[in-house]
């Protein structure tokens, strides 16, 4: 299992405690394309943050690539994120001071395993795969929304992660760009065998995935595979 949770519950200790998700048991195999759906406020984002080790459960356990993560400190969690997890959010979150290529190279620089020219080459390849090869020297604010989201996907893929986590990646795009992004995810799964877990409220998107997990009030109420 690439991602596995056992009885994961996340409760915010506020004046009135807020339960974000409860008793989540979820196993995702390598190469699966999973959509997470549910009404607004049902805990989809919260679950994704837990799967991506951005947040830690109050109860239960998250395992990444078979490795338990309970009790790891912030730096150890960051190290796993750096190597094994790529995030795409509704907003692109590109660094405005850097051009497209530099943005994509940032996670590679932090990892520090490639030489400067290797990083450059890998960045170019990733961009070319998303039909963005001619945009490498542009700044984020010179790009359209769809282009920015593609750069964000390329950045998420920078360190060749095991898992790609996306939180409403098309939520901010028009239908044409939504389709482009959706197709990119589908291709990443079918052609490269990547594991993609995407939160979405679009039925088109959910229909394109092989498995749908439906949340209501922080619980999984439906988990169905399609062939």
């Amino acid at each position: 299992m690439v991602v596995e949770t056992r009885g994961v519950t996340r409760i915010l200790q506020e004046a009135v405690p807020v339960t974000l998700v409860r008793d989540i048991d979820l196993s995702v195999r390598k190469g699966e394309f999973v959509s997470i759906t549910g009404p607004s406020g049902s805990g989809k984002s919260s679950l994704l943050y837990l799967l991506g080790l951005l947040d830690v459960p109050t109860e239960g356990e998250v395992m990444i690539d078979g490795q338990p993560t309970n009790g790891l400190d912030a730096n150890a969690l960051a190290a796993i994120r750096l190597r094994k997890i790529g995030f795409v959010f509704q907003f692109h979150f590109l660094l405005p001071e850097f051009d497209v290529l530099q943005n994509i190279m940032l996670p590679m620089r932090r990892l520090g395993t490639l030489s400067e020219s290797e990083m450059r080459e890998r960045g170019m390849t990733l961009l070319a795969g998303l039909e963005m090869a001619d945009q490498t020297t542009k700044r984020p604010d010179q790009l359209s929304g769809g282009q920015r989201q593609r750069v964000a996907i390329a950045r998420a893929l920078a360190n060749d992660p095991l898992i790609l986590l996306a939180d409403e990646p098309t939520g901010n795009l028009d239908s044409k760009n939504s389709k482009i992004v959706r197709d990119i995810f589908a291709r990443l799964v079918s052609e490269q065998g990547r594991t993609v877990i995407a939160v979405t409220h679009e039925t088109d998107f959910a229909a394109a995935t092989q498995r749908n997990v439906h949340l209501v009030d922080g619980r999984i109420v439906k988990d169905e595979r399609r062939s």
């Binding site: 994120r81 959010f89 979150f93 520090g112 950045r155």
Partner: protein, 416 residues
């Protein structure tokens, strides 16, 4: 290395806020510049002044007196006796340093030490019906040369001519002017004993100090002994040692050994040297105050950047950046502002010093117009630079730490 990534992010973020960066850099630069200027003036004048103190007078003067009045014999015999003697007078002793010749001889044996027996007293110099009272020093010209600046400050004649002229006298420029007394003129010298002697001017010095230039004269030791009616007596041994900084311990050693009061130049000028300490404290307080203001400038810009870059911080953390990486980015920004401020401050400081070095002004007690004596060494630059960098790190620390405490989930959830 990761710090290069942090550096490039730091530079890019600062470059995006050029005006605010410039203002905080200027704040640091002014602090550093003023520090360099004041510190160079202060330490320059301190060095110059100490130099003069050291050069114009012997490093150590042994005098024919004792630091404490001699103890009454009865107290020596009964140290714990319940006796009190009132209105006793210390035993009179013949003024002068006993065996001064042997002492001078012994001191001169030590390497680098120059010792000279001298007799000082008060006289009146009369010429053309005008009187000027003066301190006379009976000296040895061959040694006096090394003990004070007089020989190098001679306008006419020399100390050496005291030896070749019978009854020669060396006077200062001020006295020469007051009395109209010139080289080779015969002055009348009147001693307290009533003795009157005609002496020939064989040298005129000008040390730039009114007190000395008007009121100090030099004669041979033996002439002074005759004038002051103190045959075979010297009341001072004047000493120069290789390292002036050792004068205090050297003097203490001599005093412990011979009993006579031995004054080091530090002891004589204790009040002035104390003033320097206070002066330095004031300089450093003012500069620290400027630096605190500059530090607030740095704190301000780093805090603003951190506030504005919360999204970028969050996304970098979600990518897998460590909290410390984030802290490093903002610390580097602080240090960059510090370094830029330091470099610009060096320029400002140098410019201020160039400007100050052209100033001239009149100082009471000095006959010539004076300029600042400046310390041109690298020291003020180094200290000012250290101040700036320290202020930068301290100021950037808190906002940088705040940045590292950002929880990405809070930001990303809020943005979504």
């Amino acid at each position: 290395m990761f710090w290069r990534v942090a550096l490039s992010i730091a530079i890019a973020q600062l470059a995006n806020r050029q005006r605010q960066t410039l203002v905080s850099v200027l704040g640091v630069a002014l602090g550093v510049g003023f520090f360099i200027a004041t510190s160079s003036i202060m330490s320059g004048s301190e060095k110059d002044f100490t130099q003069r103190l050291v050069n114009n007078a012997p490093h150590i003067t042994i005098k024919d007196e004792f630091r404490n009045p001699t103890t009454q014999p009865v107290f020596l015999a009964y140290p714990k006796g319940a006796i009190s003697l009132v209105r006793t007078k210390p035993r009179e002793y013949l003024r002068g340093i006993k065996n001064y010749g042997a002492k001078v001889e012994e001191l001169s044996q030590r390497s680098g030490v120059i010792a000279e027996a001298a007799l000082t007293g008060q006289i009146i110099v009369r010429y053309a019906n005008k009187d000027v009272s003066a301190s006379v020093a009976g000296i040895d010209p061959a040694k006096e040369k090394f003990l004070t600046q007089v020989e190098s400050d001679m306008r006419e004649g020399s100390l050496d001519r005291l030896k070749t002229t019978a009854d020669g006298i060396v006077i200062g420029s001020g006295m020469s002017q007051k009395l109209g007394l010139r080289m080779d003129d015969l002055a009348t010298v009147i001693a307290p004993s009533g003795l009157v002697k005609r002496m020939k001017v064989v040298g005129i010095f000008h040390v730039g100090n009114l007190l000395l230039d008007e009121g100090q004269v030099y004669v041979l030791l033996k002439n002074a002994q005759v004038l002051l009616d103190k045959a075979f007596i010297a009341n001072q041994i004047r000493i120069k040692i290789p390292n002036p900084d050792d004068a205090e311990t050297f003097a203490a050693g001599l005093e412990a050994r011979w009993g006579y009061r031995a004054e080091s130049w530090q002891e004589v000028n204790r009040d002035i040297l104390g003033l320097f300490v206070i002066r330095n404290a004031i300089t450093y307080s003012i500069v620290s105050a400027i630096m605190v203001v500059a530090a607030f400038g740095i704190f301000n810009i780093i805090s603003t950047v951190v506030m504005e870059k919360r999204r970028d911080i969050a996304i970098m953390m979600s990518m897998g950046f460590h909290a410390f990486d984030i802290q490093l980015i903002f610390l580097i920004q602080g240090v960059l502002v510090g370094i830029l401020g330091m470099l610009l401050g060096w320029g400002i400081g140098r410019g201020l010093l160039e400007a100050v070095s052209t100033l001239k002004f009149t100082v009471p007690g000095m006959s010539e117009r004076q300029g600042f004596v400046l310390d041109w060494s690298f020291r003020p630059y180094a200290i000012g630079g250290l101040f700036a960098l320290a202020a930068a790190v301290v100021a950037a620390w808190y906002p940088a730490h705040k940045a590292s405490e950002v929880r990405p989930v809070d930001i990303i959830r809020g943005a979504a």
